[in-house]
Symmetry: C2
Amino acid sequence: MPRTGMEPVRRQALIDAAIEAIGARGSLDVTMADIAGRAGVSSALAHHYFGAKEALLAATMRHILAALGADARQALAAAASPRARVSAIIRVSFSPAQFRPEIVAAWLAFYVEAQRSAVLKRLLTVYARRLRSDLMSGLVRLMPRPAAARAAEGIAALIDGLYIRHALADRAPDAAAAVALVEDYLALQLAAAAGRAS
Amino acid sequence: MPRTGMEPVRRQALIDAAIEAIGARGSLDVTMADIAGRAGVSSALAHHYFGAKEALLAATMRHILAALGADARQALAAAASPRARVSAIIRVSFSPAQFRPEIVAAWLAFYVEAQRSAVLKRLLTVYARRLRSDLMSGLVRLMPRPAAARAAEGIAALIDGLYIRHALADRAPDAAAAVALVEDYLALQLAAAAGRAS
DNA sequence: TTTTGTTGATTGACGGATCAATCAAAACTA
DNA sequence: TAGTTTTGATTGATCCGTCAATCAACAAAA
């Protein structure tokens, strides 16, 4: 049936299964057999395509980062003003595609694992830098650079904090409240900057 | 040599060793043998006193929570005004005793583990409630209750977010910057509330 | 004072289970 | 057939929890 090579298909299926398994278990403490089983293949095949478990986990994280990055790029492209750019980044972070239990659990687990794995740490650092840069691209035109840097740091910390707190609560994701909280912070920062300028 | 019971001594030593091991490894993925070795005893003894690994980890988390709680109580007792109460909680969260690499790593690891362990989840929920309550005890006298609730949520999220971001960066803890960021948020919230009241 | 239990503290060794990774062979496709 | 895809079986390592045995201190009895 498949006239195309199986490799990309299997890799993607295994990555999706890894996200599912991580979400179900709430940590990276998942077995290759579990992941492979969810993908409908044997654990040996997972090793065949990824070589080692760490490689599969790294690929999974890259996939999550890439998806977030793609959403962010798209939202930024549609933003007409600097202010809209900042709001776009905030909105994307809590969009239904990102603010899901499995994804939130994966983020948390990857943060922990990054303390041991240099590869994962590098990936998370890249994410942090990109988030900061995306935020600054709008903020820097709305307030002086030092104030913009502080606001970006605060927004980033708020997003991460709301993620971690969301992982703890087992109720449904309250994305709207999270966005409102961060937007409120942004509005206060902008008002303060405007006040200082006058 | 010791004519006193060894139990409390050993339990405390093992808890300290567990914090040390968790900090060194950056996750709860530590072996009983490692913990026991750091405490200078055999792994069998750790099992003798705690029964199971999960019990030791739960006791470790209780210890961390208790230490934070004691510091918070002390800081609150010395706070003369509602505003000082809020600042006291913020300051304690980033005090040298709390904002250490091992403790931050432990927090992060416990957040992950809480997704699997009902005991740890309960402990973290208690912590979240107490933090919220401590913050509200000051905020509620500085602004209307709904605004105070939002501010408390924001401050709590900021604290957690700064913790997680601190775990990622391997540089020394920048506690002063963290306190300044949260204090800035608090000041903005207070100013906005005062503005709405007039 | 010696002798003889008694109890708590501690450990080395081990069973049992889990899991990542490997490999040779089977199934499938062209 | 020749190449690719897939797997079952196996291995080696790790680790939790248990158990029988040792050791030191102390108490009771002789």
